[in-house]
Amino acid sequence: MSFKDTALKVENISKCYRIGSKEEVYENLASATFEFIKSPLKNYRKYRSLYKFDDIKPDSGSASDPDPSDVIWALRDVSFELGRGEVLGVIGSNGAGKSTLLKILSRIADPTGGRAQIRGRISSLLEVGTGFHPELTGRDNVYLNGTVLGMTKKEVGEKFDEIVAFSGVEKFIDTPVKRYSSGMKVRLAFAVAAHLEPEILIVDEVLAVGDIAFQKKCLGKMSEISRAGITILFVSHNIGAIENLCTRGIWLDDGRVVMDGDIEAVTSSYLKSTNVDDSETAPESWKHTGSGEALITNANLLDTGDKECSTFKMGETILIEFCVEFNKSFPAVDDMAVEVMQVNTGLKVLHLLCQDCGFYLENVTIGKRRFQVEIPKCLLYPGHYQISIYVGDGSFSGFDYVKNVLKFTMVQSRVSKRTNPFLATHAIYHNQSIWKEL
């Protein structure tokens, strides 16, 4: 990649913060008084040292050379390059350093160490409506917010009608913003942001505000922008949105780049890692709800080769196996179910019942039984899913219900003649269809 095609070059960026250390507790009046007299000096030292890290190095923190207790590294030696037109998604759990990275690249905060080079007009959108003043009218705020985001007065003027039309608040444009509903405010603010024309765009979780319709509009605008060849750096917890928009992903954990590569690979490793850490997937820590007359003790996902598996291609067969320990005998058990939920949306997408094929148990005695549920040719769209299992006899609460005990990922494959990828925004389930001309 020649330098000319590089939009962003980040070299060993580190960022250190000082966090509050514990306040002392005084045992008697005398020491409290003494501390009170001494406190201005102590406070002065504390507030003075907030940004001084001369003695600390990013590679410290090892056992032999521990950091002072009140220092945390939000970013350590982060390096990557971004080509022009690339759309990069940054993922990671809370506190991984994603927002800090964006703040440094937007020049809001200074790095403690390292260097970044940005080529081209950069706009950062860490919040919608920065600089909005409640006393000013919508019109005034459009100009103010537009210039805050880096447009010139002339540019805002040229796009003003477009912005107002996009926001849909034409009628109230000369009303002070303090009288707007919060939805109107957000719409107007986003309309301004949507009309920026940067070469590099940095977007934080701004899409998390607003209702579903608004989020959809934001995502639509974002993908339009990304198709226009703008380099984008996007932070979100919405893995679905990231996978749709981005071509490349960076996974940050504890301030370090854990993985950098193709977005699908990065998100699936990230999600897998959250699975591993998630002790709730261990059967011992499952939360059981129900009468307890029977307990689900164990569950696995298998592929057709009977190997444990958590990633399936579209069109592959999924096998779910689970054990049930009956603590009582029953004349019949005819109500068992497996639910499949889409992780990103929380939507239950499949409800598989034993009645589907007329399966039931007769004269159940105390003891353990093992079951297998087969989903032949599963055509769920690519994404992440969780499985819950239920056993009962048709009564209200049932014997046992364990929620989200298995996780799996669906990935692309050519299940039809379609060459474009199947995207989670298009649909949830692909049903084969037969077409003919009449």
């Binding site: 703040k103 160490g113 006393e135 005034d140 103010l144 805050v148 007065k153 024309e197």
Partner: protein, 279 residues
């Protein structure tokens, strides 16, 4: 979205700040539209939803002038070298009102704008300088009081009036210098807000606003002259009322004001990269 514009060649480098920085005037110019709107916002918002609107810009100093005239002019009978006390005090109170308000607002500009500070980048200098310019509107309006009094007392204009723009610049630099220092300090130490009240009170009594500079003993005049506010107030009297130009105050005042402004700008630039981290 139309992408006709060619890719710009501008390269932005993000690096840890090192040591002293000078002001980047080129960058400030790029952000001139934003600067304009920030000033304009301050002006527009100030008297939003008030009945009297911009009349407050006249009423505020006017009430103080009347109070001072009654207390210091009629009751305490402070010597004004023959100038009617109301005239004597109004040419002082009006620039002082500007300086005190601009300083107070400028010192709180970063703390007040911390939400914006953490969300978007633009030259941080815009924060403390905005009130310095926005308050000029109030100042301009309140000059009507002086104009009215000059006509009423039929004061003849003199050539000293030519120095008026210099004094206004001096007045603005004092407010800007103090604002730069105090705003950069206030973001780290919130003590500034609590101290501001008595700092302003002390500054007011340190300058010849209610009294005349001639009542300061000769031996202390030099130290006294180092306060640039003295130069502004005595200068205003000379310009508008025709008393001799007080060069013994103006030269030292210009010097200290320049030092205050330059040191303030340097300190602000040194601190600006850490503002976000210490909010």
């Amino acid at each position: 979205m139309n992408r006709s514009r060619s890719i710009s060649d501008s390269v932005t480098v993000v690096e840890p700040a090192s040591g002293w920085q000078i002001i980047n005037f080129k960058e400030l110019k790029q952000y001139s539209d934003l600067f304009y709107f920030m000033v304009w916002r301050d002006i527009k918002v100030l008297y939003a939803q008030t009945v009297l609107g911009f009349s407050w810009a006249i009423l505020q100093p006017l009430i103080q002038i009347i109070l001072f005239t009654i207390i210091f002019g009629k009751v305490a009978r402070i010597s004004t070298e023959g100038i009617p006390y109301i005239l004597f005090s109004s040419v002082a109170i009006i620039p002082w009102t500007y300086m005190s308000q601009a300083m107070a607002q400028s010192s709180q500009s970063l703390v007040g704008g911390q939400n914006m500070l953490g969300k978007i980048y633009f030259p941080r200098l815009i924060f403390p300088i905005t009130p310095i310019l926005a308050k000029l509107v109030d100042f301009g309006i309140s000059l009507v009081i002086i104009l009215g009094l000059i006509i009423y007392y039929s004061v003849q204009p003199t050539w000293n009036l030519l120095f008026f723009p210099v004094l206004i610049l001096l007045m603005m630099s004092i407010a800007a210098g103090a604002g730069l220092w105090l705003s950069a300090l206030a973001i780290r130490f919130r003590d500034v807000r609590h101290a501001m009240n008595f700092i302003l009170r002390m500054l007011m009594y340190s300058a010849p606003i209610v009294y005349s500079a001639s009542s300061i003993p000769e031996a202390y005049r030099f130290i006294y002259s180092l306060n640039p506010i003295v130069a502004v107030i005595e200068g205003f009297r000379a310009c508008l009322l025709g008393t001799p130009m007080p060069w013994q105050y103006v030269w030292p005042g210009l010097t200290t004001a320049a030092i205050l402004l330059i040191s303030g700008a340097l300190y602000f630039k040194r601190m600006e990269r850490i503002f976000v981290d210490v909010i």
